[in-house]
Symmetry: C2
Subunit: 323 residues, 2 copies
């Protein structure tokens, strides 16, 4: 696949750059076992991002990435640091990275934006992205509207850069399904929460193991930004505030603090336990090495190469899609 | 697969019993080309259901089904007719068909409830269902919360009756992905809307061809029953009413009338154009025979048989799941 061939990986797999979870130490541990770990820079100040990059390089010689949340007020400064540091992979969320693209490409960074729709994937291709992560709404945390079953092939068939599949993968069956749907690599978040090495509170890991399909919900669909989390006191309180018409900015601030409460304190009252629907399949905490072996057990990773078929591109004018 | 072997079909495929769309004539046409067509009895009175069954039998000797919407006030009477008529397949939605199960099984009908979660699939298995249709929320019309990528393998791995995959299938890639995810057959709705023979207004078919991924939305997530439709004047008006706190019953009545407006008149002002996310892939109206040939092109249909692996069942007590 494109992803493992491009970064010389044992597994064609990115660890989704999760805020608070994607620490330098965890990213390095993921890269050491043969996938590609990412620093989740989330709402970090710029200096902290630089320190995390240095720390990863102390811990591993393997390639790694940094996920940039473009709504971070320090995004411009962080973008400059990523170029200066020649970070091997940059993934982006919550916006369009167009204005940083040439700076990053000049520095030799690979740029892979996370996209929730075909229109955005096509815009990223035009802006010079190396690939896109197509993320279905089964993922944890902030999500879009499309689902993996439909989004992955729609994007794979209508762009000429590689499509990395994200959202709903936690077992070999889903890896094989993603290959059928056109993936040139995978990005996982939720399964990594069940890694022994994941730097999250034991109560958070326990919550992932115990979650059943109907215990996971989406907050923010009415009045905020859609975000997939475990149902608990916090999610119920948030949804009451949402229905009462709270300001989006206020809701987002509430959420960021609450993710930290979950990661650091496992606080069931105040914590936002972000997780994807795939948590319902996860029943065991494993060391990273075994987690990845099990995920790819019996999977035949094909060589890279887009299939020649294009079903859709000539039928949709750009104008139709982007609006 | 279980589905084609059980009903002696050319294709292991059910046409989802769509209200107003699943007429006797259309169901018969689907069965004639080698899949299994269904009468969508929706809110039909009982006498109309019996007449539709007789009409299908005039048109074809092939097996067919009837979908029963259990919230139909005439559900008890319809249930009795299905047993009397010894309908080959009964699928059910919007509730639990437990109280009819022994009557239907005694009459030799196969019973396949449509389920949106693992807990309901397990309950249906205990009640004696022959299989379940596991429907991801990418489907059109009334939907649940889970997505196909996660729901299908979760159910396939945790029940011992067959899992029929529904939600998000419109191309060979998705058929192959569903096989990887444990399907013993498929149910499609949206793709059938693009069949030449589909008894819907030309403007509705045109809307399916033109729909892009971001033009489809879910109404009813806040105050009604979640339902996936095309974004148009009706869906916007509905969501305003919903936010204003309209009664669920009132919203549902509004919806049923509006589906009829879409099917019969193609009315963009008052019509609910129900369709799944897979509509974004559909660009051509085809006769049923070619539509099915193209859907299964290059697909290798495996023989029936559940894989021996069970990842989850011993880890979840029934008590944990059902509540």
């Amino acid at each position: 696949m494109w992803l493992d061939e491009t970064f010389n990986l044992k597994y064609p797999l990115l660890e989704g750059g999760m805020a608070y979870v994607g620490t330098a130490e965890f990213a390095a541990a993921v890269s050491e076992v043969g996938a590609l770990g990412q620093i989740g820079s989330g709402s970090m100040p710029a200096a902290m991002v630089r320190a995390a990059i240095h720390r990863v390089r102390e811990l591993t010689d393997r390639p790694f990435g940094v996920n940039v949340m473009l709504m971070n007020p320090a995004a411009d400064e962080i973008a400059g640091i990523l170029a200066e540091e020649e970070v091997p992979l940059i993934t982006t969320g919550a916006g369009s990275p167009g204005k940083y693209m040439s700076m990053w490409k000049d520095a030799g960074c690979k740029v892979i934006p996370v996209v929730p729709s075909l229109a955005l994937a096509q815009r990223m291709e035009r802006q010079g992205a190396d690939a896109v992560v197509a993320e279905g709404q089964e993922a944890g945390g902030h999500i879009g509207e499309q689902t993996s079953m439909v989004l992955w092939p729609l994007i794979a068939d209508n762009i000429s850069i590689p499509m990395i599949a994200a959202g709903g993968i936690a077992a070999p069956r889903q890896v094989r399904a993603a290959i059928e749907l056109g993936a040139e690599g995978f990005q996982l978040g939720t399964l990594f929460l069940s890694a022994e090495e994941a730097p999250i509170h034991p109560a958070y890991k326990e919550a992932v193991l115990k979650a059943t399909d109907t215990k996971i919900t989406v907050m923010g669909r009415t009045g905020g930004v859609p975000c997939r989390v475990l149902k608990n006191k916090f999610s119920r309180d948030y949804m009451v505030k949402e229905r009462e018409g709270a300001d989006i900015q206020e809701l987002e601030e509430l959420l960021i603090g609450s993710l930290r409460s979950a990661v650091e304190h496992g606080d069931d009252e105040k914590g936002a336990f972000m997780m994807g629907l795939a948590a319902a399949q996860i029943t065991e905490i494993k060391p990273l090495s075994r987690l990845l072996e099990d995920l790819f057990r019996g999977v035949n990773i094909p060589p890279s190469g887009k299939p020649p078929v294009r079903h859709h591109s000539e039928d949709i004018s750009e104008d139709t899609i982007v609006r």
